[in-house]
Each structure stands twice: as structure tokens, then as C-alpha cells.
């Protein structure tokens, strides 16, 4: 089957985010055909080129989000009126709803008036969005129109209208201009020529690799060509939007937040299936109106092979060594870890702590220096006897040297892996430790509890004493440590491998396709619809006549054979799909 993979600043570009995940997905599902539709985010990204693409990627179409391209079309009077109508509608929706409540209508849908009202607002937004898209398709000239005075006036009218949101009412002229420019930027996918029958209209399924702008082409493909949409979000775009630009004027933030919230709600409403990467993303999606029946959590997959050796031979670690592995930055709260280690030393004087990682940026370097100072202050150097050279029980190391060639060796060097972050998304370091079969003590942040399950100890963040208690308990109990490590490894191998990720998406693809009605109805001579005239595999040119394909041999369509289990790309396993 043919899958349109929609990315924004992502996959085929070398520096794209979540590129590794997409690459593994595409390579893992080699029996499908992928059309990649990529939006690039910057000129630099475009200049850096693409990653090597496997043969199942049959076509790549790109468009730039950073370049203002005016197609030179000047709208006639009728088009201008159409544009003004839709844009006023859009502006009115963005201004009138109190944004925070706007997206929570799923909860209120059952509560009568306010529910139907917010559903009405959602419909208005959708109408305006698709109206603009249709205008762009029919007439062109949308980018210029979105920056025109008509647009700014419509925004001003909406902001000054009674019932507008408090912060929208304060909008000044520069704010209006900025909002118009940002909306134009966000709506650039509307002007693309991707929505014809031989582009996105020809795919069986659109898979948006993130929410937000990347899902917009999928929404339009669904609107114009009835292609089902699958949205995968490892980080919620709406939340990212809230965290960027905290210093912009409130009017701009309010209107843009409303836009992104509405867009997310519309995406979730239209998507056939939504796959959050963890419970945290799932909660945000539910909050933004995603139907629970559509949500399937698909954990990010990580490559387990580099850790296999360590994981299968857990015996050789020093039983008194604790290891912390990660990038050194203030949110990792190493200070807390050092204080906890001071407590641990009181109970277990032979304990050692190895902190393995590189600082990120100047802030991280400063933090590392601070931590080194603190460690030197807390722990004097110690020697085995009067004639031996002493050393500090806390060591700061980096991977890549002869002592710790890889991260797997770093995890393997300790009996216990500690994670002390105060903020964490999906804890890929923790999952790596699980792959290595190490017992872990981590702080209860982000998706830690979700990842670790019952296979490690979890303590509250910023609580050195609790951390120390837990570590001491595990240090004194090698048997329990071993049991926890084995359980963690089993859990990680079951939940967080690339194979499970790819298999999950394979299943979801089939599920969506099975519930999607035939879109192209072929009529026979008498004008009656011809059943089974267009089977799904008919969209896979060249595959089913391929003599090496398993399709013919097994007598069934290729995509319906067994689930794929493929070796992963040899790229480094340090990044999760994030």
C-alpha cells in the first residue's frame, strides 16, 4: 500500500528532527511504498541535503516554509470577497473563544449548550480553513492575500468585536501585522499543489510525522481526496508552541495559541488514528479534544543491539558503583545527585559514583564546573592505604575514551544506574539502562514512571534523601538488583524496541485501510459500481508483477503477509524518536 509520509523540518533532511524514527519506519516497512512530502524549516536545512533513501521511497516532494513565495496572482473582486469572508470567519473564531477552553470541548460536548457552542466554533474554524484552501486551489495568490490589508483589517475587526478575548482586545497595529504574518506562515501548506489526484490523492494513507503544520497537508488531503489521516506525535506541537516565544505581546500569543489549539483540535477530529508517543502526549491530545477511541500509544523504538552484550552479561560490574549517564545540563539536577551520594556514602562508605556525559552548550559547561567543585568540596580524595595515590569517589567522565568506549560500557560499569532529572520528556537514557539490564533509581518526572513500570525504583524529584535511601537499599541487596535489572531488560525489549514500533505502525496502517471505504469507484458497462475493482495493492505499481515478491507466491497481497521484523539502521542508538 502507498503511504504519504508528511513531515515538517523532518525526515528526508539530514538535520531533521525525528528523522531517525522515520528512517527506521520506512526501512522497516519495506513492503509498503512511501511518498515523502516534506516541509523544510530553514534554508540551512535544505542546503544540508537528504539522508540516503531506501528504494521503497518512490517519490519525495518538498516545499519550504521559510521562503515567502508570491505567485504573483492578484485576486479579482470575487476572489477578494471570498477571501475576506473566510479570513474574517477565521479571525472571528480565533478572537472570540477563550483559547484555553476552546480546545477542551470534548469534555463539554456532553454538557449541552456550551458543548454545542464549541462544536460550532470548531466547525467555523474548519470551514474557514478549508474555504481558504479551496480558494488557494482555485485561484492561487493566497500568500499575498494573507498579508494584505484585507487580512489585517479582518483581524482588527475581529479583535475589536464585542466578545473578543481579553488579550486579543489589546492588540495594537504591530501585533496585528505580526499575527497576520505568522498566520500566513502557518497557512503556507494551503498554497501547495500537493492535493491533486496524482499526488496526495493517490496515496492510501497519510501519515503525519508530527502534529501542527505537518498535519495540515494531511487534513487538506482528507478534505479534497478523502485520504485517511494518521497522526503521530512524539512531542505535542501545541505544547511546544506555548513554550516558544514567551516574551511576545499577549495579543500575539493569544491569537496564535488559539490558532494552534484549533488546528490541533481539527487535526485530532479528522484523524483516523492518533498515536501519541507516551502518556504525557496522550493527555495533551485528550485535553485538546482527541477522541479516546482513536488514541493508540506507540512507544518510541530504540535500537537495542548496542546494549545486547552488556544486557546479557550483567555480572562483571563493580557492586559499589553508581552510574549516571546523560547530557550534563542544569535540569538533570546533578547537585541533588551529589547530595544524595553524600548520604549514600554515610551508609555505604565504599560506594563510588561515575558521572558520564558531555555538557551541552555554555550553560552545561558552567554547570559541569559547578558540579565538579561541589563534588570536590563534599568528597575528599581517598586512597586505599598510606602509600597509594588517592582518588575522588565521584568521577566525571566522557564516553569514547579507552575506559568507556560506548554508552553501553558506561551503563555496564555500574551496579546501579541513577537518573536525577527534574524535567524529562521521554527518558531515553533510562530505557538504555533498561536494555543493559541494570537496576535503576530515577526521579518521578516526565514519562519515567511509564517507561520503568515496576522494574525500578522511583523517587520524587529534588529529594536527595529519598534518592539516597533507594540507592542504599539496592546497593545492599544484589539479588534484588539483579531481579529488577532482568525485569527491566525484559520490559524494555518488549516495549521499546524498534521492532515493536514498526510492527505497531504496520498494524495501524492495516487497521485504517480496512476501515476506509473504497474511494475510487469503478463502474462497469451498465453503470453499476464494480466491486473489488480497485484493490489496495493496485496502487503499488511494479510490485505485484515483481518475480521476487512474496505476493504471488503466497497468493495474497504483500501488505497483508506477516508483520515485518527488520534489522535497524546502524545509526547510533542514543536518540529516541524525538
Amino acid at each position: 500500500m502507498r503511504i504519504g509520509l508528511l513531515t515538517e523540518g523532518g525526515y528526508p533532511y539530514v538535520s531533521g528532527e525525528a528523522g531517525l524514527w522515520c528512517d527506521r519506519l520506512v526501512r522497516g516497512l519495506e513492503q509498503h511504498e512511501f511518498d515523502v512530502y516534506a516541509l523544510s524549516r530553514s534554508e540551512r536545512q535544505e542546503a544540508e541535503g537528504w539522508v540516503p533513501l531506501p528504494p521503497q521511497v518512490s517519490r519525495v516532494r518538498t516545499a519550504s516554509l521559510w521562503d515567502f513565495e508570491d505567485d504573483g496572482v492578484v485576486h479579482g473582486r470575487r476572489a477578494r470577497r471570498r477571501f475576506a469572508e473566510y479570513y474574517s470567519e477565521l479571525a472571528a473564531v480565533l478572537c472570540t473563544t477563550a483559547p484555553g477552553n476552546s480546545s477542551a470541548y470534548s469534555e463539554r460536548a456532553s454538557r449541552g449548550a456550551s458543548g454545542s457552542e464549541s462544536a460550532l466554533e470548531a466547525d467555523r474554524f474548519a470551514n474557514a480553513l478549508y474555504g481558504l484552501a479551496e480558494l488557494a486551489r482555485d485561484e492561487g495568490g493566497l500568500p499575498a492575500a494573507l498579508r494584505s490589508e484585507t487580512a489585517v483589517r479582518a483581524l482588527e475587526r475581529a479583535c475589536r468585536a464585542p466578545g473578543a478575548h481579553r488579550s486579543a482586545r489589546e492588540a495594537r497595529v504591530p501585533d496585528l501585522l505580526a499575527v497576520a504574518a505568522r498566520l500566513e506562515h502557518a497557512l503556507r501548506p494551503l498554497s501547495l499543489d500537493w492535493y491533486e489526484d496524482d499526488d496526495l490523492g493517490a496515496v492510501d494513507l497519510c501519515h503525519a510525522a508530527s502534529g501542527g503544520t505537518a498535519a495540515l497537508p494531511g487534513l487538506l488531503a482528507r478534505h479534497f481526496c478523502d485520504v485517511p489521516l494518521l497522526v503521530t506525535e512524539y512531542g505535542v506541537r501545541l505544547r511546544t508552541h506555548y513554550l516558544t516565544e514567551p516574551d511576545a505581546p499577549p495579543a500575539i500569543r493569544s491569537l496564535l495559541a488559539a490558532f494552534h489549539g484549533r488546528l490541533a483540535a481539527e487535526t485530532y477530529r479528522r484523524a483516523a488514528v492518533i498515536t501519541p508517543g507516551n502518556t504525557h502526549a496522550r493527555r495533551w491530545q485528550e485535553r485538546c479534544g482527541a477522541d479516546r477511541a482513536k488514541l493508540r500509544t506507540v512507544h518510541p523504538g530504540m535500537d537495542a543491539t548496542p546494549f545486547a552484550e552488556t544486557g546479557e552479561s550483567p555480572g562483571y560490574a563493580d557492586p559499589h558503583t553508581l552510574v549516571w549517564v546523560g547530557r550534563i545540563e542544569p535540569v538533570k539536577d546533578l547537585v541533588s545527585l551529589l547530595h544524595a551520594f553524600a548520604e549514600i556514602r554515610k551508609a555505604e562508605p565504599r560506594a563510588r559514583l561515575r558521572i558520564v556525559g558531555n555538557p551541552t552548550g555554555p550553560e552545561g559547561a558552567a554547570y559541569l564546573a559547578h558540579c565538579k567543585g561541589l563534588a570536590a568540596q563534599l568528597f575528599p580524595d581517598e586512597a586505599d592505604g598510606p602509600h597509594a595515590v588517592g582518588r575522588n569517589p565521584v568521577s566525571f567522565e566522557e564516553t569514547g575514551g579507552p575506559e568507556l568506549p560506548s554508552r553501553a560500557d558506561a551503563y555496564g560499569a555500574g551496579a546501579l544506574v541513577v537518573l536525577s532529572s527534574v524535567v524529562e520528556g521521554f527518558p531515553s537514557g533510562l530505557v538504555e539502562a533498561m536494555f543493559c539490564g541494570r537496576a535503576t533509581v530515577s526521579t518521578d518526572v516526565g514519562a519515567v514512571v511509564e517507561a520503568i513500570g515496576g522494574t525500578g525504583l522511583v523517587v520524587p524529584p529534588r529529594n536527595p534523601r529519598a534518592l539516597a535511601e533507594a540507592c542504599v537499599a539496592l546497593l545492599r541487596d544484589p539479588e534484588r538488583r539483579e531481579r529488577l535489572g532482568a525485569a527491566a531488560r525484559a520490559r524494555a525489549l518488549e516495549l521499546f524496541t524498534v521492532e515493536q514500533n514498526v510492527a505497531a505502525f504496520h498494524g495501524i496502517y492495516l487497521e485504517i485501510l480496512s476501515s476506509t471505504p473504497v474511494r475510487r469507484v469503478v463502474l462497469d458497462d451498465t453503470g453499476e459500481p464494480l466491486p473489488f475493482a480497485v484493490p489496495a495493492e493496485a496502487h503499488v505499481p511494479g510490485r505485484w508483477t515483481d518475480p521476487t515478491a512474496r505476493v504471488v507466491a503466497r497468493g495474497g497481497p504483500g501488505w497483508a503477509t506477516d508483520a515485518p521484523v527488520r534489522a535497524t539502521s546502524p545509526a547510533s542508538a542514543t536518540e529516541g524518536a524525538r
Partner: protein, 474 residues
């Protein structure tokens, strides 16, 4: 606040005791024994608020066998900073199941009123104080939720504030932010982009080079004069291009300079040609002087070249003024009304400068001052450039084309009138020249064009969208 010793003593024997002992159990229990994790979790999630109250109360009774150090840590923190205590209170090192992650929604029991009695037991207030920047600037509850999560607040933390999740906690915080009716303080104007002085030099360059060329023309004879003219024209054109690439006259879109060149060329040669054509000439090619068979009028061209600097300066003034008005005005209508005088003033300023330059060059070069045609051409070019700079390219191109075509047509009709039987064609131009002299043709063409563009500019350049800051490609 009570001392640390008291903080050690949990008050009610009920929940903290069980909580402590069970968490102690789970500390020492192997994983397999984690069956009670969910229950433990529920207790951990539910009790701390109550405990916060109890701690503040400093209840007597060390009935419970000394709580585990973990719990002590939580309690002491709770005493020190209410919210923080809540965050930490959750506890002991428990092994939890991921599925139980969302299960922190435990109704707080009867202890709630006693907790609410205490001011210190309003943990949300303390939390709001800690995140007051976030709360004050948030435009909706989700923004607070995102900010809280970025600071490490999870659903389990929110459970300690008696909320089901971070979202409802954020909603309470959003609702409780004091908002007086006043608007938020006026955002300070963004610092004006650093004024670079490079463009001033570039804007002076065409004038200087043109003056040098004119001097070269005056001082040489014959072939060197021809070379000087060619080189001068080339150099001035290049300097002009450079001046239009940088500074306030820079346009985002590419424009063609053909018609501008034609109009300037007409100012240089056209009047002489027209004059000569009316007299039956021209009898030879231009020789670079005003006295030859095809006289060359250098003064207006030199004046126009020199006027590059005032043009750039007035465009700069207009842009800066418009930006200031943009920041100051409240509505679009306000803005339009305040920019219109600015635009007219800018154009008038430029016209004054151009008039002075034309008079000056006329006097220095001892040529008859060509005021009308130079002034109208200057106004036309300035307005066309201003419109182009602000993103309106359609009208300027049309008008420049029309003006150039009109001038060309005037010359063409004169020569066409010499054909037998076509004398009538030349009549209008001859009448015009008879009425206003040879200057009438360019003055009329450029004047009408300039007026058209002025009317257009008062409509287009007074819109706010014409002054939207262009984003830089990243």
C-alpha cells in the same frame, strides 16, 4: 512555623503511618511484591495535603513509630515551603506501575477543611507565587500547564494540590491570577534596527561619480570625451544599482530598470532631440555639449544623480516615521490618518532638495535651469521607488512604462510627421512645444505619471500592511 523536631511527628496515626510503613515495605520488597503498588500510590497521592495541615498544626503525639527518613524529608520540606512540601510529600521510594500513573485522582477526605483553615495550607497560592511570571503573562490555562510541566510539575504533583491533573491545576491558577481592569503595561517599542551608515556613502556615490563624469566631459575633447562618457555612464549605473541594493531604497522584489534608464536618457538627450527635430534636424550625433547639433542637457541628470542621497534620506525618514507611528497607533484607521501627512511631507522635503539641486547644477554648469522636467521626473522616480520598496510593484511599473512610452511616442510622431501625408501626426506635439517649449513633453508625461503615483501612494503606503516588517529568511 513549628520547629524541625515537631515536623518529624506526623499527627494523625491513620494515613501517614500506613503510608510510611508501606512505603518502607516497598523499599525493601522485591519487585514481585509490587502488587500493592497501586494502592500505595493512591495513598501517597491523597494524603499529603492533609499532612501539610497537620504538620503546621504541630500536633502532639509521636504515636507512630518514627517515620522513615524519606517521609521526614518530605515533611520538613512541606513545612519550609508549602508548595514544595506538597511536591515532595509524595513520597517514599515506591515502585509504581506505569498504568497507575494517571491514577493520582484521589479525593481528599475529611481532613480538607482543617487544611483549608490554615493560610499556609493553601499550597496553590504558594505555587502561584513561585510561578507568578508564568501566571501573569499566560493567555490561557494551557500555557500555564505547559509552563508548569516544563518546571517538572506532573499529574502526581498536581494531585497534592487536590487536582486531578496539571490541566485543572493550571485552570485554577489561571482563574486566580489577579487581573485589574488595566491593560498590561505597554510593551516597550522594539529597538529600532541599528542604523547603518553604509547606505549614506552609497547614496552619495552616484552623484559624486556623475559630477566627475560631467567634469570629464567638460575637460576633454574628441575620442577621450567619448570614452569618458561611456565609462561615466557605466560607472554611474553601477553606483546606482549599488545604492538601490542597500539601505532604505532596497526593494524585496526584483524590478527592471529599463524604463528608468529610458526616462533618464530622455532627460539627457530628449529635449535636444526634440528641439532639433522641430528645426528639421538633428544634423549630427550628440557631442556632449549643449551647443552642438544635438544638444545635451547634463544639468538635470546631474541633479537627479545628486538627488539619490536626499531620496534615500527621505525614504529612511518615511520608514522610520511609519514604524514609530505603527508602534504608537491603536487602530488601522489611526495609522492611515497619521501616515498620510508623513508621506506628503517626505515627498515635499525631497522636492525641495531636488529644486535646490537643480538650481545649483544649472548655475554651476551654466545651463538653462530645466526645472519642470527634472522636478517631475524626480518625483515620479521617488514615488515609484517608495512604492516598490514597500511591496507594491504593479502600479509603478505600469506608470513608468506609460511615461516612457508617451515620451517615445512624442518623438516618434515628430519624425513620422515628416512622412508625406502624415503631417497631422506631429500636430499635437508641435502645439504642445509651441505652448510650453520642448520641456512640455517630458513635463507632461512625468507630471501626469507622478500625480497618478502620488494618489496611488496616499492609498497604498498609508496602509499598515505596507509597513509590515519583512521576516528574514532563516
Amino acid at each position: 512555623m513549628s520547629g524541625l523536631g515537631e515536623l518529624d511527628r506526623p499527627g494523625t496515626p491513620g494515613s501517614p503511618g500506613a503510608w510510611d510503613s508501606r512505603s518502607r515495605e516497598s523499599l525493601t520488597d522485591p519487585v514481585a511484591g509490587g502488587g500493592g503498588a497501586a494502592g500505595e500510590h493512591a495513598i501517597a497521592g491523597g494524603s499529603p495535603v492533609a499532612r501539610g495541615g497537620e504538620v503546621a498544626e504541630g500536633a502532639e503525639g509521636s504515636a507512630v513509630a518514627g517515620g522513615s527518613p524519606v517521609a521526614r524529608g518530605g515533611a520538613s520540606d512541606g513545612g519550609a515551603a508549602g508548595a514544595r512540601g506538597g511536591a515532595v510529600g509524595g513520597g517514599a521510594a515506591v515502585t509504581r506501575d506505569g498504568a497507575a500513573g494517571g491514577g493520582g485522582a484521589v479525593a481528599v477526605g475529611k481532613e480538607a477543611p482543617s487544611a483549608a483553615r490554615r493560610a499556609a495550607a493553601d499550597p496553590v497560592k504558594a505555587l502561584m507565587h513561585r510561578h507568578r511570571d508564568l501566571c501573569e503573562r499566560a493567555v490561557d490555562p494551557l500555557e500555564i500547564a505547559a509552563g508548569l510541566e516544563a518546571h517538572g510539575v506532573t499529574d502526581r504533583t498536581a494531585a497534592r494540590f487536590r487536582h486531578r491533573d496539571v490541566f485543572s491545576l493550571a485552570e485554577e491558577m489561571y482563574a486566580r491570577v489577579p487581573r485589574d481592569g488595566d491593560a498590561s503595561p505597554r510593551p516597550t517599542n522594539p529597538p529600532a534596527p541599528r542604523a547603518r551608515t553604509g547606505w549614506i556613502v552609497l547614496a552619495l556615490l552616484p552623484g559624486a561619480l556623475c559630477a566627475a563624469t560631467v567634469a570629464g566631459l567638460r575637460l576633454t575633447e574628441g575620442r577621450p570625451r567619448l570614452i569618458a562618457a561611456v565609462v561615466g555612464a557605466l560607472v554611474v549605473t553601477l553606483a546606482l544599482r549599488a545604492a538601490l541594493r542597500r539601505g532604505p531604497l532596497r526593494a524585496a522584489t526584483r524590478t527592471t530598470g529599463t524604463w528608468t534608464c529610458w526616462l533618464v536618457g530622455y532627460a539627457l538627450l530628449g529635449d535636444g532631440l526634440l528641439h532639433a527635430a522641430l528645426a528639421g534636424g538633428p544634423d549630427g550625433l550628440p557631442d556632449g555639449t549643449a551647443e552642438g547639433p544635438w544638444p545635451v542637457t547634463v544639468a538635470p541628470v546631474l541633479a537627479l544623480a545628486l538627488a539619490c542621497a536626499p531620496a534615500a534620506a527621505s525614504a529612511h525618514l518615511f520608514a522610520v516615521g511609519a514604524r514609530r507611528k505603527l508602534a504608537a497607533s491603536r487602530g488601522l484607521a489611526d495609522f492611515s490618518a497619521s501616515v498620510r501627512p508623513l508621506l506628503l511631507g517626505t515627498v515635499a522635503l525631497f522636492m525641495c532638495a531636488l529644486t535646490a539641486l537643480v538650481a545649483l547644477t544649472g548655475a554651476v554648469l551654466a545651463e538653462p535651469a530645466a526645472h519642470p522636467q527634472a522636478l517631475t521626473l524626480g518625483a515620479l522616480l521617488l514615488l515609484a521607488r517608495l512604492l516598490t520598496v514597500h511591496g507594491c510593484t504593479h502600479a509603478p511599473t505600469r506608470v513608468l512604462t506609460a511615461a516612457a512610452t508617451a515620451e517615445a511616442a512624442a518623438l516618434a510622431t515628430l519624425f513620422a510627421g515628416r512622412l508625406p501625408g502624415c503631417g497631422l501626426l506631429a500636430a499635437p506635439v508641435e502645439a504642445l512645444v509651441a505652448a510650453c517649449g520642448p520641456a512640455g513633453v517630458p513635463t507632461a508625461a512625468c507630471g501626469i505619471g507622478a500625480l497618478t503615483l502620488l494618489v496611488h501612494a496616499t492609498r497604498r503606503l498609508t496602509r499598515a500592511s505596507a509597513h509590515a516588517p519583512m521576516e528574514q529568511p532563516r
